[in-house]
């Protein structure tokens, strides 16, 4: 009995002190938000951004990407969505259902501002954000709503505080040519139909030049499909 009484605390202490040493981590490493390269170089390392990098090259915007404090990167899928939507529009306009329109057919010079609409001067990380959100100006002068939204997806309601996703939202007028709000208080008043929201599928990558967030694959570059856009 006595030995048991002594033995159990010793065992406990042993478990506490000797378990889970770092040696047991095989492969991979602990999470680190920082990557030791510029935003542009980081995009180049990840194949999800192949098309985006090609686009940046064609536009000669490498320096602008690297000088932006925050960049919401679109993946290859978003650009494909854009090309397909544009092709569909042209086919309807020209009444030619076999019209060929590919990535190379895009007019890159005119799309420069569209890409700038995904860049911000300041560094925007999760710490600056709230459910209400912020409404900063992009490098092309438009406004974007960036906010946190809590979710019960995958967790149902097992947490007292739900996880929160970052959303990137363009506020469009209710009718074509109508007014759009210019500050966050105005955004609070709009009809939900005016908010074109995109989930950020990866957030808070800290490069040596700024912050990088990645927009969901099902986003369409420039929100091309929206009627009032």
């Amino acid at each position: 009995m006595k030995t048991l009484k002594i033995f159990i605390p010793i065992l406990l202490v042993a478990v506490v002190f000797f378990s889970c040493k770092k040696d047991y981590t095989i492969g991979g490493d602990l999470f680190k938000a920082q990557v030791n390269m510029t935003t542009y170089d980081y995009l180049k390392t990840n194949h999800a951004f192949d098309t985006l990098v090609m686009m940046i090259n064609k536009m000669n915007m490498k320096d602008e990407v690297n000088s932006a404090g925050t960049f919401f990167a679109v993946t290859n899928y978003s650009i494909t969505n854009f090309v397909l939507a544009k092709r569909e529009q042209l086919r309807t306009q020209k009444n030619d259902e076999n019209l060929v329109f590919t990535f190379d057919s895009l007019n890159f010079a005119s799309l420069k501002d569209s890409l700038r609409a995904y860049m911000f001067k300041d560094k925007i990380t999760r710490d600056n954000l709230s459910q209400k959100g912020i409404y900063p100006q992009t490098l092309d002068g438009e406004y974007r709503l960036i906010q946190l939204r809590s979710t019960t997806d995958y967790t149902n309601s097992i947490f007292t505080t739900n996880p929160q996703y970052i959303y990137f939202t363009k506020v469009v007028p209710l009718t074509p040519g109508g007014p759009v709000p210019v500050d966050i208080n105005g955004v609070q008043q709009v009809d939900p139909r005016q908010l074109l929201s995109t989930l950020c599928q990866t957030t808070g990558i800290l490069t040596t030049t700024g912050v990088l967030h990645v927009l969901s694959n099902n986003h369409t570059f420039t929100y091309f499909n929206n009627v009032n856009n």
């Binding site: 019960t152 309601s157 499909n225």
Partner: protein, 493 residues
């Protein structure tokens, strides 16, 4: 130490012995109080009322099971671009890549339908024998018998549209040991039985509702005629369909909801337009709890505050082909941001949060709409068109069109038939009807009709071979040697 253990064990054994000897005596001797399988039940009106309520409840669970109502009727058409990452099984179905193994067998298993049919058959078997004095409201007896016949006809019609030939069982199994396996009855005979049941239902039921709370969620004479119209249209007996729809429209006491601001109320349920609905009402604690077993794949934020996954975004292509006229009120009322890649279908988006302002526990409170007046009016237009009475068909079609705020149509013959079908697809979007409409009008995979050619995964050849029917779950063959697989699927699973 050792002694103690022995003592405890002995004590424990004695207690266990004592309990097992002294307990449970009385309970075991009693007759089961609430079993529907014995003559102890079905003695008075209350029993009959509870039994029919039980049948409705079983029907509700059949419809909600695996979200099958919308999978059968809507996922199979091109209404949605289902997200494969979030709902792979239904993505396979919507994409025509259904091979059997990549979709769980739950959805093609009909066991729970036969639980429902057992309940209905029991009511049909037992309730007529209850003396009428035992009902507190004497009208209840006929009403309940009529509803049971209606439900049996509805269930078999629903099943036969999904599987074709199904085992036809019109007697309850009163003794489980006597239950026998029966082979699949040809669809035509099943439908004949449905029509025979409906004749009885129609003679027992009355038009209108004395109790407003039962509107549409309990069957009446109008529901029975609506079902008869659908069965006759399915068998291309358009003359019969025309007569049944006339009963619904002229005598059913239904009205179109013309105040467009009240449009969403149609889908909450019990509107003046509703003919038959499945009750889903949070206030009666019958909402669908989305965080638990419930599923609402076509809505997300902002309609469900904390839901960011949209499993079934609407297909923009399909919507744009159907709603060429975007001033159509339905375009605005049915969809949210339909032009984006995450367009939501918001017909059924009446959410209440069980935990109030925390909004963590959403409950959906929209009835499943099975039949409504607009549906029957368009079905009548289809029948009239087939019978060569285009003038009358146009009046009905244009009533629906003018309610939606779109221009009247003036056409005839096949062009009119096509417009009526498109109007049905527009009006009844996501109401579990589209697939059957396309099969009935033989428009699936028809290469000459532009938007329907999008259903390339189900083409004419496949429809002619019976490929619009679902296979049955192979696990059902285990205990049933007389069952045979649906012909199209033999050798394909």
């Amino acid at each position: 130490m050792k002694k103690n253990i022995i003592r405890y064990t002995a004590g424990l054994l004695m207690i266990t012995g004592l309990i097992s000897v002294s307990s449970c005596k009385k309970i075991l001797d009693l007759q089961p109080h609430n079993s529907t399988f014995t003559n102890a039940y079905f003695t008075n009106g209350t029993d009959a009322n509870t039994a029919i309520a039980g049948a409705y409840s079983l029907l509700r669970s059949v419809m909600l099971n695996n979200y099958s109502f919308h999978v059968f009727g809507d996922a199979t058409t091109s209404e949605f671009s289902i997200n494969s990452g979030l709902d792979d099984a239904n993505y396979n179905i919507s994409n025509g890549e259904f091979t059997g193994l990549n979709v769980g067998p739950g959805i093609w298993n009909w066991l729970n339908y036969y639980q429902l049919l057992q309940q209905i058959n029991l009511i049909i078997n037992k309730v007529p024998a209850i003396p009428i004095e035992k009902f507190s409201n004497h009208d209840d007896k006929n009403q309940i018998i009529g509803e049971a016949y209606y439900l049996r006809a509805f269930t078999y019609f629903y099943m036969t549209r999904v599987w074709g030939d199904v085992p036809l069982k019109t007697q309850p199994d009163l003794d489980v040991s006597q239950a026998v396996n029966i082979p699949r009855t040809p669809a035509a005979d099943v439908l004949k039985q449905c029509l025979a049941d409906l004749k009885i239902a129609e003679s027992n039921l009355a038009f209108g509702y004395a109790d407003e709370s039962q509107r549409a969620v309990r069957a009446n004479k109008g529901s029975a005629f609506a079902l008869e119209a659908h069965i006759k249209a399915w068998t291309h007996d358009y003359a019969g369909c025309e007569q049944a729809t006339a009963q619904v429209i002229n005598n059913g006491q239904y009205q179109l909801v013309t105040d467009t601001s009240q449009f969403s109320k149609i889908f909450i349920g019990k509107s003046v337009e509703g003919i038959f609905e499945i009750n889903i009402n949070y206030q009666q604690s019958e909402g669908v709890a989305l965080n638990y077993y419930g599923y609402a794949p076509t809505i997300a934020f902002p309609f469900v505050a904390q839901k960011s996954n949209l499993e079934w975004p609407v297909s923009t292509l399909y919507v744009n082909t159907l709603f060429k006229d975007t001033t159509d009120l339905r375009y605005k009322k049915y969809f949210f941001q339909a032009q984006s890649t995450s367009g939501q279908t918001i017909k059924y988006s009446n959410i209440t949060y069980a935990d109030g302002s925390a909004k963590n526990d959403p409950r959906l409170s929209n009835n499943i709409i099975i039949f409504r007046l607009a549906d029957i009016m368009l079905l009548r237009a289809e029948a009239l068109n087939q019978l060569g009475r285009d003038g009358e068909a146009l009046v009905l079609l244009n009533t629906i069109r003018s309610r939606a705020g779109i221009a009247s149509y003036t056409g005839a013959g096949n062009a009119l038939a096509r417009t009526i079908l498109e109007e049905r697809l527009r009006e009844l979007f996501y109401e579990g009807q589209s697939f059957y409409d396309l099969v009935r009008t033989k428009q699936i995979g028809n290469p000459t009709s532009s938007f329907i050619s999008d259903y390339s995964h189900i083409n004419d050849t496949r429809v002619n071979q019976g490929g619009y029917l679902w296979p049955i779950d192979p696990s059902m063959f285990k205990d049933d040697f007389v069952l045979k697989q649906t012909p199209y699927w033999q050798g394909k699973l």
